[in-house]
């Protein structure tokens, strides 16, 4: 058992190596912006004579003597501001279409905009409000308050919103003494804790809840508007966004929500005081299905509406865009209105269209504008050049020089503006220049760090290639000699030392960060250790390599190569689901072909008889293959579409109304179907376990296996039905409780498996008389034979003194299967109802692959080791199945199609609102296939034995039989060979007694555990090769047009899959170890009793 522990340690070590490589690469590839903590401040030019900078003609003259020297000035505040942020308010929602008789649910609902624009065109503005991707709320809020570009890496941290340290408009307001009142989404208070004078923040946690938050805001809003102790009021409505997520834009609910918003806006517009500017805006749009996060046209076009009650807005003559406003332009514009400094890292421009035209005493309008514009320009210039000085290497020197010259020219021009025409031409050039800075920055913040990327690639390559050479090519029995626990201790110590060394001296080796150095040094040491092991065992490796046939497994290799090259082509990534289903079907057809080749041609030596063929097991297995491929084809109907796929019909959406699609609650039929499938699954697995004899007895784990899945499936069914039913008055806690029960069952199962894993029942002995087996003999076969005869109903045996154990033949696989059932139930309840049939279908395909492989494996086996080591085809098939399951459960490798609902399964009523749990649930949902099939990989090794224990007659089918028979015939008579027992045949063919099922595994524990370990490493290698290919593809295509849309998301998904599936494999391995230890205990206990 000692070596088993060392195997687990090696797995953990290899997992660290591979994932550190991936992490290093992603640090280089998904670069983030260096956020600067500098803060702007300014001198307030005030109207109050007591202040330091009281505005007089002299002061104004002083300023305009040299505009360049007059930085950091703030003009007086123009008005108070009310910001109504309506989440996901798309531009199309606010455009009023006349002459539409039957408006779509989202059309023509916000008529307040039309009325205000018609009545007071100088006081209101309606514009497109263009967001920068990623269009998730947190990223948008950061962009809207700091005025800078969000970087790609920020995405996905929507659940853990950290405080913003960069200079931002909220901090500026607070610092300059403008009290803020906030109400709505609690993301704001997470980003800006303790900044608000009063805040009414409500968690945005439950995305099915359309109304609660909005109602609360609506209650507070009128009261707050009446008070006059604030200068800025922010209200963030979430209802429209939640409605989009739940129902999509075409549902009746959307029209209700929009009408509601319309009333809110109307009330605010009428109640607000005269010196107030109202800004209604959306932070992003939504796609046709109501989701957001990506960069499609629908998602980035939000709406901005501005209304000023008393003062007119400046008109569009001052160089600002009139139809479209960039979202980063909001920050400088707000700063202008409020008379506060523009935040340090802002890159946006002031949009004068929504700035109220308030005259500043002693200044002409032109002077005011010049001052505003020039403050903005100087701020951007300062930020940009400071950033450039600190990050010298990342800029192109010539370009910088050119831009510098341009700016100096502009500084001269600004001094000599005396009329409108000059101002207009000046501001045109200035804006062009500043936009150029913006685009330079945009380019810069997706610039890659080549060192980290290449090192990440190298690290991953070694961590995949060396284990492949070393472990995959060593016979399973010898693995325990290579990795002794003592050497592993040294390995870990060396790694620790290297890590500490890297942490301590990272500066001396010119690494930028500690982590980089730690990863670098530990990997160098680990690679050296692996190379050392390889050199030490080169003899064994060379021998086993020489045994590999030159063109063995060619079709499987071709499939593997195609699988690996998917990442390199954008069209293959787009159609990855279909490619995977193609490959999976090919694997199954290949196995069926091998079955025909290896078994039928052997069974019919000279004459083919159709009758006999139809009766044979091979034919039944062929039928199972047909079923499997049909299931796979059926599962392709669950695939989700992505934007790039033309003419693709999405099963979750119905393209009924024009370009939009309705996310309508699908018909009851599909829910019933998924429930039936789930129930069928639990019933079948139960029947299987019962027929193996694993459900006899009354110990806790057997009771769990007997009743747990039933309870779980009832709860799952109830949850699916109730959470989607149109009946509204079901208490949410009751629905949640069902999901919680399923979670709890898994937890209990984990505990039970750790405490006492075995699902066997030792029949109490009735007669404690003598023992017939001597101590030296191996006891196990005897026990088993007794058990067999018990089954056959031999009464005489029943009263004998040999202990009878139920379920001994499937002692390993039964626990795995029972654990897998609970895990699958949890995954099913987390998944969307429609896609949960996908995972069950995948499980069924997995079962068919297992049984097919079991028969195939035995037929070609020559000894125990070949019998327990799965074929290459089966491993690849299992691996593909895990990936296929990702697509079969309606996922896609795009960032906007993450199923965030999973975070709320069982937690709608404020139970455990931690972001950690939410993240785990979403990951479980997204990578359900990887997790399930990685955990269950042990079945590949054990299932051969349990199948043969269940159907012992299959033993006759070994391909060796004939060869050995031929030898036998020379010595014995032909008749003698026919009436041998099955175990004899088995002994002759593969050198051990196959009828004893998985007990054989225990007897050859060295080889068995070694093989399972080898199998785990092989799965590591496959996954590592896949992620390596994804990384390489990103490196090759890093200037590709589609890199942020296709390759980078593919890499992110693959890397998370790697991070998730390697621990899952370790869990699977530990599970087998635990069972193995349990079996050890059981056998010794039985022995002792005698």
């Amino acid at each position: 058992m000692k070596f088993a522990l060392s195997y687990a340690l090696i797995l953990a070590w290899l997992a660290y190596l591979i994932s550190s490589g991936v992490y290093l690469f992603s640090r280089g590839f998904l670069l983030s912006r260096v956020s600067k903590t500098d803060v702007n401040s300014c001198r307030h030019l005030s109207k109050d004579p007591n202040d330091e900078y009281f505005l007089t003609d002299d002061v104004v003259d002083e300023i305009f003597k040299d505009v360049n020297a007059s930085s950091n000035l703030c003009l007086p505040q123009k008005s108070k501001v009310i910001i109504l942020l309506i989440d996901a308010l798309k531009y199309d929602f606010g455009v009023y279409k006349e002459n539409v008789t039957e408006p779509l649910p989202y059309e023509n609902k916000l008529d307040v905009f039309r009325d205000l624009i018609r009545n007071e065109p100088q006081h209101s503005r309606l514009m497109r409000f263009k967001a920068d991707p990623p269009t998730t709320t947190l990223q948008r809020l950061k962009g809207l308050t700091t005025g800078s570009l969000p970087t790609f890496v920020d995405i996905g941290s929507n659940f853990a919103s950290p405080e913003i340290n960069e200079d931002n408009i909220i901090d500026q307001m607070v610092k300059n003494g403008l009290p803020i009142v906030f109400m709505g989404d609690s993301t704001w208070t997470d980003l800006y804790p303790n900044r608000f004078k009063r805040s009414y923040s409500y968690p945005s946690f439950d995305i099915f809840d359309l109304d609660t938050i909005d109602r609360k805001i609506e209650k507070q809003l009128p009261k707050e508007i009446q008070k006059d102790d604030w200068q800025v009021l922010i209200a963030h409505f979430l209802g429209v966004d939640h409605c989009g997520h739940k129902h999509g834009p075409l549902h009746e609910e959307m029209s209700r929500k929009l009408t509601e918003m319309n009333n809110v806006i109307k009330n605010v517009a009428s109640q607000m005081s005269d010196d107030t500017t109202l800004l209604v805006m959306g932070d992003h749009g939504m796609t046709i299905s109501g989701d957001h996060g990506g960069d499609s046209y629908d998602e980035i076009n939000a709406l901005l509406f501005a209304y000023s009650k008393q003062t007119k807005f400046l008109n569009g003559d001052y160089g600002s865009d009139t139809d479209v406003m960039q979202q980063i332009d909001l920050v400088p514009t707000l700063a202008t209105i409020l008379g506060i400094p523009i935040p340090y890292s802002n890159l946006g421009l002031i949009n004068f269209n929504i700035v109220p035209d308030v005259a500043v005493p002693h200044m002409t309008k032109l002077q005011t504008l010049i001052l505003h514009v020039w403050q903005n320009a100087q701020q951007i210039y300062t930020y940009f050049y400071n950033y450039a000085v600190e990050n010298k290497r990342s800029f192109n020197v010539e370009q910088m020089d050119r831009m510098d010259t341009e700016f100096i020219l502009l500084t001269h021009r600004v001094k000599s503006i005396y009329n409108d025409a000059a101002f207009k031409s000046f501001i045109g050039d200035l804006n062009a220049h500043l936009r150029q800075i913006l685009s330079t920055c945009r380019e810069l913040w997706v610039k890659f760090d080549a060192t980290q990327m290449s090192q990440g690639l190298l690290v991953t390559f070694f961590a995949v290639f060396l284990p492949f050479v070393l472990i995959s090519n060593t016979p399973a029995g010898k693995l325990s000699n290579i990795f002794t626990i003592k050497e592993l201790g040294y390995t870990y110590l060396l790694n620790l030392a290297a890590g500490v060394f890297g942490y301590r001296y990272y500066r001396n080796f010119s690494f930028k960060t500690e982590e980089h150095a730690v990863i670098f040094f530990t990997n160098v040491i680990s690679t050296l250790i692996l190379v050392f092991h390889m050199a030490q065992n080169w003899y064994t490796i060379a021998i086993s390599w020489s045994k590999v046939k030159r063109f063995a497994n060619m079709p499987t290799r071709a499939i593997l190569i195609i699988l690996m090259s998917i990442c390199y082509s954008n069209s293959f990534v787009v159609n990855e689901g279909h490619v995977l289903s193609y490959l999976l079907v090919c694997v199954i057809i290949l196995m069926a072909y091998e079955l025909l080749q290896k078994s039928i041609r052997v069974d019919f030596k000279t004459k083919f008889k159709p009758q006999q063929f139809i009766k044979s097991t091979a034919f039944k297995l062929l039928l199972a293959c047909v079923l499997a491929v049909c299931l796979i084809r059926f599962a392709t109907t669950f695939f989700r579409c992505r934007e790039e796929q033309g003419n693709c019909m999405d099963f979750t959406t119905n393209s009924s109304a024009g370009s939009f699609s309705l996310k309508k609650p699908s018909s009851a039929k599909s829910y019933i179907l998924s429930i039936v499938i789930v129930v069928l699954y639990t019933t079948l697995s139960r029947i299987y376990l019962r027929s193996c004899g694993n459900l006899t007895g009354t110990s806790v784990n057997i009771l769990m296996a007997r009743y747990g899945p039933t309870v779980a499936s009832i709860c799952t069914g109830g949850h699916i039905l109730l959470s989607n039913s149109s009946v509204k008055n079901v208490d949410r806690t009751h629905i949640d409780m069902m999901a919680l029960i399923v979670y709890a069952l898994l937890v209990v199962q984990v505990i039970v498996v750790t405490v006492s894993p075995l699902m066997v029942y030792v029949l109490p002995q009735k007669n404690k008389s003598t023992i017939s087996v001597s101590r030296t003999d191996n006891i196990i076969p005897e026990i088993f034979k007794k058990m067999k005869s018990m089954y056959q109903g031999d009464d005489a045996e029943r009263h004998s003194d040999i202990p009878v154990v139920y379920g001994l033949a499937t002692i390993y696989s039964s626990v795995l299967i029972s654990f897998g059932t609970f895990l699958a139930m949890v995954l099913v309840i987390i998944l969307e109802p429609k896609s949960c049939s996908g995972i069950v279908v995948c499980i069924a395909v997995g079962a068919i692959i297992l049984s097919l492989h079991a028969v195939l494996r035995y037929r070609t086996a020559v000894n125990f080791e070949t019998c327990v080591q799965p074929t290459f085809t089966a491993i690849v098939g299992w691996f593909i199945l895990g990936h296929f399951c990702f697509f079969a459960t309606s996922h896609q490798t795009t960032l906007s199609q993450i199923d965030w609902r999973a975070a709320f399964v069982g937690r709608t009523t404020s139970i455990g609102q931690s972001h950690f749990i939410s993240g785990i649930l979403v990951i479980l949902n997204t990578f359900c296939g990887h997790i399930l099939f990685s955990c269950m990989f042990g079945l590949l090794a054990t299932e051969t034995f349990s199948i043969f224990a269940l159907f012992p007659t299959l033993i006759k089918t070994n391909a060796n039989r004939d060869r050995k028979l031929d030898c036998n015939n020379t010595t014995k008579t032909a008749s003698a060979t026919y009436d041998r027992s099955l175990s004899e045949i088995s002994n002759e063919c593969v050198g051990f007694d196959m009828t004893r099922g998985e007990l054989v595994l225990f007897e050859n524990e060295n080889i068995f555990v070694g093989t399972v370990f080898k199998l785990a490493v092989q799965l590591y290698i496959l996954q590592g090769a896949k992620i390596f290919c994804a990384m390489l593809a990103c490196t090759i295509h890093c200037r590709h047009l589609m890199v942020w849309k296709i390759f980078a998301p593919r890499f992110i998904y693959e890397s998370i899959a790697t991070f998730v599936s390697m621990p899952a494999i370790i869990v699977g391995f530990l599970l087998i170890l635990r069972i193995h230890k349990g079996v050890d205990g059981l056998i010794s206990k039985i022995n002792k009793n005698k």
């Binding site: 293959f572 079907v585 090919c586 019919f604 083919f608 063929f613 491929v629």
Partner: protein, 236 residues
Amino acid sequence: MAVRFDALKTKHQLFHVSISLGVILICMTYMQYRRNWTHLGSFWDSLIIPIVFTGEMLKVILCFYYGRLEDPTLTQKQKQRKASYFTPKDLASGLLLQFLCTVLYGFICIILGAPVLQNYEQTFVLSLLLTLLSVSPTVFLLGGGGALQVWFCEKPDFLTKTEETALNLFKYNALGGILGAWAGSIVSPLDWDRDWQTYPIPNVVGALMGSALGNIVACTRVLYATFKVYMSKKRS
């Protein structure tokens, strides 16, 4: 090393391979002549199926021609089978077998991603072509019952030497054709927007190319064996 060189067999093999390659060449010429490949999927409009059919028949006839020479040396079993060749039962079972195979290929095409409810004709043409490349020659040569024996038994005992030679070559043809059609799918997800990317053109062309490749491999093997014999003769 004494290698017995069977001139007759080699001749047969070379003729056989050249017929296959010739058929593929004719197909390619035809496709080049028609320019537009979109008709490849239609049954009535395309000449690919008849050309391939003729080619396979020619090969079978070639085999019969060479097989005539060894008639006197036949065993009892072989004679029996020869006699039953043109019986109605055998013909019917042969046709049934081919039909079943076409259905099977069609099923596999659909499973592998061909549209379920559309493009019947295209799927039919593709599966017919695959049947012609893989199953039909054996059935034409041995009849339905014989073909079954050949496929499912380890060592059928009734084959004459010529037939074995031909079957061996058929294997290359069939394997190449199936793998070619399989590999042809590679181009279909690509976003090149070419008209020849539509199903089943890549698969049909892939099957033809694959069988050509298989025949080239077979041809190389035969030539290499001949070359070795020639060298050893020269040395001795």
